[in-house]
């Protein structure tokens, strides 16, 4: 063996023979200069290292030699690397400062206007399950949101009314894509519901003002629903209810899942047993069919599709004030279809991309006495956006949207038709600036154009949040919000321009150990509201001439921890609103904006009965209306609205729920307004009829059974 070879062999060996030891020591400080315990200090690529002690100090030995990288890591902080030279002996690196890393977990979020129901995020006011178990909601998303601050219950309508705004001022989105006619069609004071089942969604983001530049076409509020991700198991869900029934089946695999469901309801049998205040010729009935499918993509993205089609109708007699007999016969048939698909994924370079398309089609066939009316509305929405994280402190969102809207009103027997088509294009951008994990500014701009009204506009928006302590924060939001008038106005005057609202919101949010307190003050100014001559049935001279305001304060308190097995929330909203709109010649308090709104929801779990008892009480100080026997507009107010609802959910087995609920248990005769005769009678008096409730109470009984045959269940059963 040659000497050179032996030398070479030893050189190789020497690579893992420790020759010298170097001791490295120092102190770890946080961004405020405070000693930071628990940091992980190491020589990069080796096992040598240690943990900083309670006073941030560290010291360890390494056998590495030469230039090495000293790496310090700690959850919530950015990693720090520094080059050292190990030559034996001791190295004192002195103070090393770690900068905090702003993550989803520690970053302050903006609460102004926002009310969130989610299992994933922390600063939320509701969990998705709360929506289903709120007694007055009867399983309707809107019903549950009506127990939250900033909303008013309008019992003969059922839709969402936010802070002095009418129902059309709430924009509803599923996975960011617009939903046209999200509520069932309604006639003659029969309240409606959201078409979509709450079980479809994993999260609900409900904003009562000051929302993101991502959302437009909404003067008052945005309701953004996000659909569930991949279902994990195959299962069947059977529901049998006092008003109908349905079946839903989910097929799932590792990467994708699909759920198909069909439901049928008919209030006929129920209404033949329980007397109704309304004079139904044919009670409400309907069917729906829905398919939702999810596919998981590599890198954590999703591909989702949702399709729903439904049909239904009702027929009833609406009494006419001052006229004997059953009144006017009104018949409604509704056909509705909604479909959407969206894709989202993470790209390289810290980009997150989203793209999607939705389509809604709604057809109402109405028979009013002998007059046949057919209203058809179609909306196509295409949207794409990208989010770029420049660092943990700055992120940008850029989006582009296109809306195509077709609407027509026809009188088939008279062969008359009027319609409009509109194309709208929007571009928006929004920037988040984190100055620290406790302080964030958000600036946004949304620009839009409409080819029908030949209008171009831009809405600037800004918001800010500051974390005061671990449990509390303040937020502010301000911005401009534009919305094209509703379809039945635009079809009469295609030149109508946007109505505009300006929001200013201040919010305080506190959350600690199962208790949430939220207080919010707001001011909203309205411009260019649509006014017309005549009345709702016969409008003319539509113009953007109205204006007004809404201001107020709302308070929310929820406590899940003080009383064992009990969860309750209390809401009070004060709204002072006046506006000139519709046929009003002066600024009036709208009928849908009661001044004082209160609700209390209590849920109590009785463990040994496997039951949850629900209680909800909603009240307001009454609805304004115009009494033509008196001077002025909106000169009267109904008595206070009150509704006490109870529910009982019994879970005898994990896969079986029996739910019994009753609204307005006390049978209070709520009145939402009055209708008056067109002309005074012989005594010179306009005769009135109250617009009341469909029935004093609504009773609901449902049995929900989940059947699953998947591997998990089999494994459970085999063991």
């Amino acid at each position: 063996m040659s000497t050179r070879l032996i030398l070479f062999f030893f050189l190789l060996m020497s690579q893992h023979v420790a020759l010298t030891q170097t001791t490295i020591s120092g102190i770890i400080l946080d961004h405020k200069g405070k000693e930071l315990p628990g940091a992980n200090i190491m020589i990069k690529g080796s096992y040598d290292g240690t943990t900083a002690d309670i006073s941030g100090k560290f010291s360890f030995e390494t056998s590495k030699e030469g230039f090495q990288i000293l790496l310090i890591k700690m959850m919530g902080f950015k990693a720090v690397e520094t080059v050292i030279e190990c030559t034996g002996g001791e190295i004192e690196v002195g103070n090393l400062t770690l900068k905090e890393e702003i993550t989803d977990m520690n970053a302050v979020t903006i609460s102004a206007g926002a009310l969130e129901a989610s299992d994933e995020n922390k600063a939320v006011v509701l969990r998705p399950l709360d929506i289903v178990t709120t007694p007055s909601a009867m399983g309707d998303i809107t019903g549950a949101l009506q127990t939250l601050p900033g909303t008013s219950t309008v019992g003969n309508d059922g839709r969402l009314f936010v802070r002095g705004g009418d129902a059309s001022e709430v924009g509803i989105y599923i996975d960011g894509l617009f939903v046209g006619n999200a509520y069932g069609s309604r006639v003659a004071n029969v309240p409606t519901r959201t078409r979509f089942n709450p079980n479809l969604f994993k999260g609900t983001f409900f904003s009562t003002g000051g929302y993101s530049a991502e959302f437009g076409q909404a003067l008052s509020s945005a309701l953004a629903l996000s659909t569930k991700d991949l279902s994990v198991r195959n299962q069947g869900d059977l529901s049998i209810m006092s008003v109908g029934g349905g079946y839903s089946h989910t097929f799932s695999s590792e990467k994708q899942s699909i759920t198909a469901s069909a439901n049928y309801f008919d209030l006929g049998p129920y209404q033949s047993l329980i007397n109704q205040n309304f004079d139904f010729e044919s009670p409400a009935n309907g069917w729906d069919f829905e398919v939702a499918s999810q596919k998981k993509l590599s890198k954590g993205g999703h591909l989702k599709a949702l399709f729903r089609t439904e049909g239904g109708g009702m027929e009833l007699w609406q009494p006419v004030p001052g006229v004997e007999g059953r009144g006017v016969r009104i018949k409604l048939n509704n056909d509705y279809t909604y479909g959407q698909a969206n894709w989202s994924n993470f790209l390289s370079n810290d980009w997150t991309m989203f793209g999607g398309v939705s389509y809604s089609r709604n057809v109402d066939n109405i028979l009013y006495d002998s007059l046949k009316i057919k209203n058809t509305g179609e909306t196509l929405h295409a949207k794409t956006y990208g989010i770029k994280d420049f660092s943990d402190r700055i992120s940008m969102k850029l989006g582009l949207e296109f809306f195509r809207q077709n609407y027509s009103e026809a009188l088939p027997n008279e062969n008359l038709q009027r319609n409009f088509k509109d194309n709208r294009i929007f571009a928006y951008t929004e920037w988040d600036w984190y100055l620290s994990s406790k302080l964030v500014f958000r600036t946004g701009l949304r620009a839009g154009s409409s080819d029908l009204s030949s209008q171009l506009w831009a809405d600037p928006r800004v918001s800010f949040a500051f974390q005061i302590s671990d449990a509390s924060k303040v937020s502010l939001a301000a911005g401009t919000f534009n919305q094209m008038p509703v379809e039945n106005f635009r079809v009469l005057n295609p030149n109508l321009a946007n109505s505009e609202a300006k929001h200013l919101i201040a919010n305080y949010f506190f959350q600690k150990e199962g208790r949430t307190f939220r207080a919010e003050a707001f001011y909203k100014g309205y411009n260019n509201l649509v006014t017309f001559d005549g009345n709702q049935m016969d409008m003319s001279n539509l113009q953007n001439e109205g204006e007004g305001y809404a201001q107020g304060l709302d308070i929310f308190f929820r406590d899940q921890s003080t009383i064992r097995n009990t969860d309750y929330w209390v809401t009070y909203s004060f709204v002072d609103s006046k506006r000139q709109f519709d046929q009003f010649e002066t600024q009036v308090q709208p009928s849908f904006a009661p001044r004082h709104n209160f609700s209390l929801v209590i849920k109590h779990f009785i463990t040994n009965l496997n039951s949850q008892i629900g209680f909800s009480f909603t009240a307001n100080d009454g609805y304004t209306y115009t009494d033509p026997n008196l001077n002025g507009e909106m000169n009267s107010k109904t008595k206070s609205f009150q509704n006490l609802s109870l529910s009982w959910s019994y879970l005898p087995k994990p896969n079986l729920i029996i739910h019994l609920a009753c609204t307005n248990v006390l049978g209070r005769e709520n009145v939402f307004g009055y209708s008056f005769s067109q002309t005074p009678n012989e005594d010179g008096v306009y005769v009135s009829l109250p617009s009341g409730q469909v029935a004093p109470r609504f009773l609901f009984l449902g049995v929900f059974l989940t059947l699953s045959k998947d591997k998990t269940a089999n494994q459970l059963n085999n063991l």
Binding site: H16, M42, Y47, T50, M105, D119, V232, Q560, K653
Partner: protein
Amino acid sequence: MKNLTLILVLAFMSSLTALASEYEEAMKAQIQKMNNISSDAEAQDVKNGFLRIAQANMSEWLPMYYAALVQTEAGLRFDVDKDAYFEEAQSYLKILQDAGASNSEITALEGYIMMGMVSVDPGSRGQSMSGPTMETFGKAIGQDRSNPRAVYLMAQMERGIAQFFGQGTEKACGMFKMSLDLFEKEKEKIDENYLLPSWGYEQAKQMYESCN
């Protein structure tokens, strides 16, 4: 020339073995420490040790797995911000999963963390999270039917749900028994160089004993 090749190969192999055994020794020492944790400070130190091994051995799943396990158990045992601990543990599993690692032990630990999260606030989280937790354990069993931890953890969740619904715990107890049988089989494989997860036997035994 033959000799040269032989020496080179031997030298190379010896350096490889040295590296490999360095990893094994470090892991063994950490696992030893892990089994003797009695405070959160010790837990953080052991977790950091595993994380150091992980950063030096990117292709191994065990160091990161143990870091997540230590953090999970610290969250369960000590008076700390439990959600933050569980979220940190989840973030370590996510690093593994993003790198394509998937096995019964990782999935079982994922379910264990979810179970810990439910225990923080069973009233409001139980209803929405216990289903997915059970499914995760089911998936872990599906990946390896001989994993005693997956069966033991599922049994514990099953017991919690049965107690919640006022039902008998027979099924859970049967599962505890089954996990004990699997633990016994696993024991045959364990020697002083065993690095794979082998925790859970004592807890499962205690649970099973409380059945009778």
